[in-house]
Subunit: 666 residues, 3 copies
């Protein structure tokens, strides 16, 4: 497995390049990503193209035995281009333009910008076609960063109308699908549909959901411009994009056809602070939350069910989270191991060297601004050495975690509770699996599910008959299924069906939802399950069982005694329905019962911050805490890296099964 780095030669004196690149090679780096954000260096004046500097950098990289990964520079159009076409700028819901002066200041639906994109991408693609030192391309950078997937400009209005026309054919089909009788929202033509701009009250949820879909598709269409031109120029290149973690508005799965390789940008100590409702613990401030990072690894692996890359790996302290504590000693190495254990084939640290100018001066690199090694450099070097030994097949997961962005959007559009948050709900189940050292693929429901022993589907909100039939088929054939709150509540248009939840899933579940409620902390939030008392949070459903058996019931509250969790035998399998958002202990109980039924092996329940992951016969034990832990390895384990004491922020690797280990926190 491979380590790489992100490099911006244009930020440094020309005479320094060779030494930088030499030092990369010495550290065991194999891939160097370049040219991101470099449009004004490539084309300082409209039409004056200069790629000689990049040629030279690629050539130096190749001289030192490494390969280049290039980026299309479209995330930052130069000022002269914006001045030529001011309509390129995005607009907020209140009409305020998102001006030039930071990045991502363009609309995916701007015809002018699509034209400029074609021009610059084809220029670069043609220039580097057949260059053997360029391994592949990253398109643009982090689509949607800084909330830029969605735009409310006039170009988007036009494009949205066209998108609706293609989806619905005639306006009455749209009226029927959305349900526009409510509040006089009937539309006479597609021209009457605007982007959901500022209104006095909330928008129609079906209109909003379609706007979210349209916006996600706009990024996909825009990306296809890059992918098609690059493929046309040289079909040996891989085409990749670097996605983000716990990201809401951009549907990664929709890019699967256009990309050869999924990559994402992993900043564990930032994510623990800025995209989870929970406050970061001291350990998480030092090394991140392994389940938050791991679920993103498994999502981008699941997007094509093949190995992925970490295109940007946090190298030390970074500029954008609220606080920037120094990562734990060794954390930068730990993260590389963690990524590889979850299926990464390459981990590229961002960036080689701390930048002396602009917005990211407070972002560490592997090297300091004076070129000397920074804290991450030694970690990266060690990781490169250790990982180079391993040549691994992809991760083999027994469990699928079904995920569709449409469910995220629909439930977040109508959260029904201030603390409903789709990723957090999903992660509760994911963490229960990972605490038991079970591998899971995060996959779209339309994937082939036949290979999985168990399926967990958190908040499968929007369900049609076809999806219900797929799941019925899987369970009939013996797959064990766990469904959770809010499933089967709406149709694909975000409209209630004429029957109670779980709608088309009712046969499968053998129960229906009589009532749902959202519950703040100061109300009763207890259930019994299997004779034990457990806590839940946020969301609760009172179930009416038909063929299903009640296995969990409410204690206290208005729903006292009502069914909360059910199980249902269905063909060769079973369906469990968990009608509460479980706290961690209940999630563990429900998930281990599922694994038992599915005959999936699992470990003892690992302590918080300690995780094991298995790939191609190897198991990683990873310690995201500031205290060493002792591991009782399986008898037949062969140590590959480290030993049975895993240091603070350290990792041990052995050949053997993850399910057989146990960990002693003391």
């Amino acid at each position: 497995m491979t380590v790489g780095v992100c490099y911006f030669p244009e930020h440094w004196p020309h005479e320094r390049w060779e030494r930088d690149i030499e030092q990369m090679a010495e550290a065991g780096i194999e891939y160097v990503r370049m040219a991101e954000f470099s449009w004004s260096r490539i084309e300082p004046e409209s039409g004056e193209i200069d790629l000689s500097w990049l040629d030279e950098a690629v050539s130096l990289i190749s001289d030192h035995g490494m390969e280049a990964v290039l980026c299309t520079p479209t995330a930052t159009p130069p000022k002269w281009l914006i001045d030529q076409h001011p309509s390129i700028l995005q607009e907020e819901p209140d009409g305020t333009p998102r001006h030039y002066g930071s990045r991502r200041h363009y609309c995916f639906n701007s015809p002018a910008y699509r034209e400029e994109t074609r021009r610059i991408v084809s220029t670069m693609a043609d220039h580097f076609a057949d260059n053997p030192h360029v391994a592949g391309w990253q398109t643009d950078n982090e689509y949607g960063c800084h909330e830029t997937i969605r735009c409310w400009c006039d170009d988007c209005a036009t494009a949205f109308r066209e998108w609706l026309r293609e989806r619905y054919g005639d306006i009455e089909s749209l009226n029927e699908a959305w349900g526009t009788t409510f509040w006089s929202q009937h539309l006479r033509s597609f021209d009457e549909v605007d982007p959901p701009r500022h209104t006095a009250a909330e928008h129609h949820p079906s209109r909003l959901l379609d706007y979210y879909r349209f916006s996600a598709d706009s990024a996909v269409d825009y990306n296809a411009i890059h992918a098609d031109l690059l493929r046309e120029a040289d079909d040996d290149w891989f085409i990749a994009h670097n996605f983000m973690g716990d990201f809401d508005s951009c549907d990664a799965f929709r890019f699967a056809d256009d990309l050869d390789l999924f990559t994402w940008d992993s900043y564990p100590t930032g994510f623990a602070q800025d995209r989870r409702p929970a406050a970061a613990s001291p350990n998480e401030l030092r090394a991140g939350d392994p389940d938050q990072v791991g679920m993103n690894h498994d999502l981008y692996r699941g997007a094509k069910q093949q190995p992925f890359w970490v295109m940007e790996q946090q190298p030390g302290d970074v500029n954008w989270p609220p606080y920037a504590p120094q990562p734990g000693e060794g954390a930068m190495r730990l993260w590389a191991h963690h990524a590889v254990a979850h299926g990464a084939d390459a981990v590229l640290y961002f960036r080689w060297r701390r930048c002396r100018e602009g917005q990211e001066q407070y972002h560490a690199g592997l090297r300091k601004q004076d070129g000397s090694p920074d804290r991450g450099y030694h970690d990266a070097d060690q990781a490169a050495t250790e990982l180079a030994e391993l040549d691994l097949d992809t991760v083999d997961a027994d469990v699928a975690l079904l995920h569709e962005y449409d469910n995220l959007w629909a439930t977040n559009i109508q959260p029904h509770a201030p603390d409903w948050e789709y990723w957090t709900h999903m992660r509760q189940y994911y963490a229960a699996l990972r605490a038991r050292s079970v591998q899971a693929d995060v996959v779209h429901p339309d994937r082939d599910l036949s290979g999985y022993d168990a399926i967990v589907t958190p908040a499968l909100h929007l369900v049609d008959d076809a999806l219900a039939a797929t799941l019925e088929g899987a369970v009939e054939d013996g797959t064990e299924l766990l469904l959770t709150v809010r499933s089967g509540t709406k149709d694909r248009a975000n409209k209630l069906p004429g029957v109670p939840a779980p709608g088309p899933l009712t046969d499968l579940v053998g129960a229906t939802v009589d009532q749902h409620e959202s519950v703040p902390e100061r109300l009763d939030r207890q259930v019994t399950y299997d004779g034990e008392s457990y806590e839940f949070r946020t969301f609760a459903e009172w179930l009416d069982t038909d063929d299903a058996t009640t296995v969990g019931s409410y204690v206290g509250g208005v729903g006292d005694g009502r069914a909360a969790i059910t199980e249902h035998e269905f063909g060769a399998g079973h369906v469990a329905y968990c009608g509460v958002w479980p706290e961690a202990d209940l999630a563990d109980a429900v998930v281990t019962d599922l694994l038992d039924r599915a005959d999936v092996g699992y470990s003892e329940r690992l302590p918080t911050g300690v995780r094991a992951a298995q790939r191609d016969g190897y198991t990683w034990v990873m310690n995201f805490t500031s205290d060493p832990v002792s591991v009782a390895l399986p008898e037949d384990a062969r140590l590959v890296v480290g030993d049975d004491t895993v240091d603070a922020f350290g990792a041990t690797v052995y050949e053997g099964e993850a399910a057989d280990l146990s960990v002693d926190e003391g």
Copy 2:
């Protein structure tokens, strides 16, 4: 007394209507409200009117022995109408339009929209004139919902100038009234007055207060268009509007001349969460705060001093509050009894059936989306049966609580403390009365006050000589008066008079305000009153007594020893002045002393969440808590509904006096 329901036949298949309506009749429902928000169903294309569907619905309702209440559909103009006249949209203070796509997307002062309103209202009025099955009309829906009373558009600018011209005649009168020498705010003509758009610092408080008055009047003028056309068409109809709870910007009292019937929309568990600074307790999350709901009942009853309706009664869990816990078992019945006890003649649940489309899918109905009974259905049915037995005169209140929206606006414009909130201050006194089972009318100071034994006037901020004379007359004749903080501080233009507070009320109070202060929780907030120590909050005044007697004094703080509460004999009555915002125990002490002086009977102090109310010889004991309570009924009480144990979320009704009961919490 009567139960009704809100129904949207246009949301359901035609073939379903008859069964829905049949089921309403079976549940004892007598009124069915319809046509709200239905403009695009009535006029799908400009000028193409279709009222046949509504004719049919009215006819079915009449066939089943019920009456229709119709609504003018103006709260939601169709998209084609907005596109014809984009100027109809309101604007925010920063100029952002409030676009089409939710509701209430029109400006009250748009000449174009007033014309369209005349057209659609007269079309409907003429169509249904003399239809014996239409009992009356609701105009529009919830004026001002989603903060739409106030708008900052150009039509409003023009209308504001005209309103000022009519109020002040010439610009120098305005300059004099407002006081525009301050900060060079002198105006040379009415054309120089703009709406109070975005500024660097705060606005002139007199200009703001007049803008608030103008905005309230704009809604009144707009409503008069409806009322006049409907009356002209058929003067047998009642004309009503459905107001909201704890609502700030819309002055309900100003509609009194144009409406025959006041109604409001009551959502107890929502209001406890979203329009009170205090956090909702577990009981309030399940059933609401009876004093919050009750004060709104008494406000809309007081607006015409006659019975009111609840036009929308919460039917179960609803979509818009932060959390949506399930109401307590029986709460939907309790709320109907509570409304009737406070003077409602009809309670209409909102809505018949959960809507399958649009913004309110997470809002329960009496029936689920599949047509089966939901939790509220059985409660509504029981309430209908129990209330049908009763035929009651209006509530007879011994106490008046004076309220004028101008005082709310003026004190909230200059709150002088982050936790000043007019309704909360007023409710402190209201709750003290209600905990003693005393009935109160919430009335405008210009009403005939001669029938009341006692008057409480919270924060009577803007006072002129005429009002002072009225109150002097009442007290001279023996009425007992209680005035509170911030009274008599400003003139009607929101300007300080040349004398200290309470200004024109000084003779009455026999004391003046030497200093006022606002005090956060961490400062001393204690007084002694009648030898006991009590807590106060937020606002304190140091009083200089003239003829008055000091009955309460500060303990601790900079005002230590200064007078805080005074009493003054005046003619045949007395005036108490409470110069602090009392916490509940002090409010009880001050209010019971007032009642004693006024010889108004009262009960023991009831526990939180338990309330009694009396109407026409009947007393309701209502339990808004999750534990049953035992009631010691008066000896001569005759039980009508329930018995002397009031269930959790239950109600008991007996013939007899409220003042004679006591409640045992255990």
Copy 3:
């Protein structure tokens, strides 16, 4: 020393003026400030000038033995002027105008407004030239109040481009200085630079810093229009401006050449609430934080290293802070003494009489709205009497606290922690000095520093070689220097140099910063210093010592054992570097060690809220708490005001040294 008052004759009936002015004189007042905000009174219609009323007021003041201070009335242009030139209005970053209707509704860079300013200022200046009763002028009022230093309008765009052109000469120099290769921010001409309007992500920190500098310079240029015209008219007048406390965007130091006298507006109980992250204590709610107020006194004294004035002194409770508790008994007198002790020559209470109209009706005056004395009147009277006895030279400070607004801006632009706040960091050191009764000048680094025994430089972020050389020279000559976190991190363009921090200060410090981190409360925040354990907060640097000695080290956390605080002998002096933001105990330890090395005398550590200050041989002991304190005076002390028990909110003055006293809290 002198007491004055702010008076608005135009707010009161003409017949009242004489009595008001007579009463001022009786209270010992010597200066009366007038004409602020009076433009529409002076010029009610365009071109119709009326100054007769002001002539009369000046004349009355002179008749009573006082002098007038006049203000240019430009903070509030009349509505007719705005309507003539709507472009005068400022704009927000999203383009929203800041409309007429409050104050400060003009852009410093509006050519139209500069022309109008010239017209009105020269009219007034010429009118009052050679009037012996006008002592001097205040220009405008509180530049930048309500966040109005920065504007994003088109006039500002033009002016910013011009400012950059003058600063950088050619665009490539700007590209080089800012570093615009990052994110394709290369600019081809100055015309491509816009104000930093709304963008999707953060702005370039160098562009922002220059916009902040430009904005500050715009106010300076605008002020120079006033100053030049006034000087030209009568060069006997002093020219002053009234600045604000803890103010961020306006660089007071840049006005030093154009002003004869620095003044500021002091509102202790407001500032304790609204411009410090820490919550105000009960004592601070009653009297303010003496170090917050004191540091502003010392800043405006330091701006010209000469006595200053308090142009507005809080007179009682005021309208704009969150809460308005009554100040402690005597606090208004205490504040006057505090100001004089810190170097004020005059303290003008704001305002004479509570205003009956407009935005500040809830702002107390020395007199109530009815003209009777308010709480502050007696305090002011007493202060006037006591201070009139004293005729003092300016404060003589042994310690300089270096401050440059550029460092405030740069660190706040990239705070790197939610709780980084420059003034708060600086005040930690200031408070340590003041708790030891040490006088400090807050001065710009380019001042002559040779007279100081010790220099403290908090967060000296932007450093060039010239500044480093200045400091080296001072230390070589024996000055003791204390540097703190974030020093020497950036060049003057807000760009990282090619070497680690402290960059050009490295020789001086004898150590470099290996790593920095920001740390929330839940991480380890301990160091040992001199064998004792201490707490720090927010920001920490791990130091690599070269010639320096480690005197403080981290305990716990990832940096455990690393150097945190160093000392370095350099020529005849020493340099201490404190690589953490110290909590109060550590700040005291570090500062007293500095004072010992510098041989500066200091007192025992005074309790919170009790402070001593020395001026011209006199020492004030001031008690900002609600309990009296006993003072052990130096043996040779001669009491001038009060005695050795200092009352709650009281002050004692004696001839003698501050360093020799001690205070007993009991």
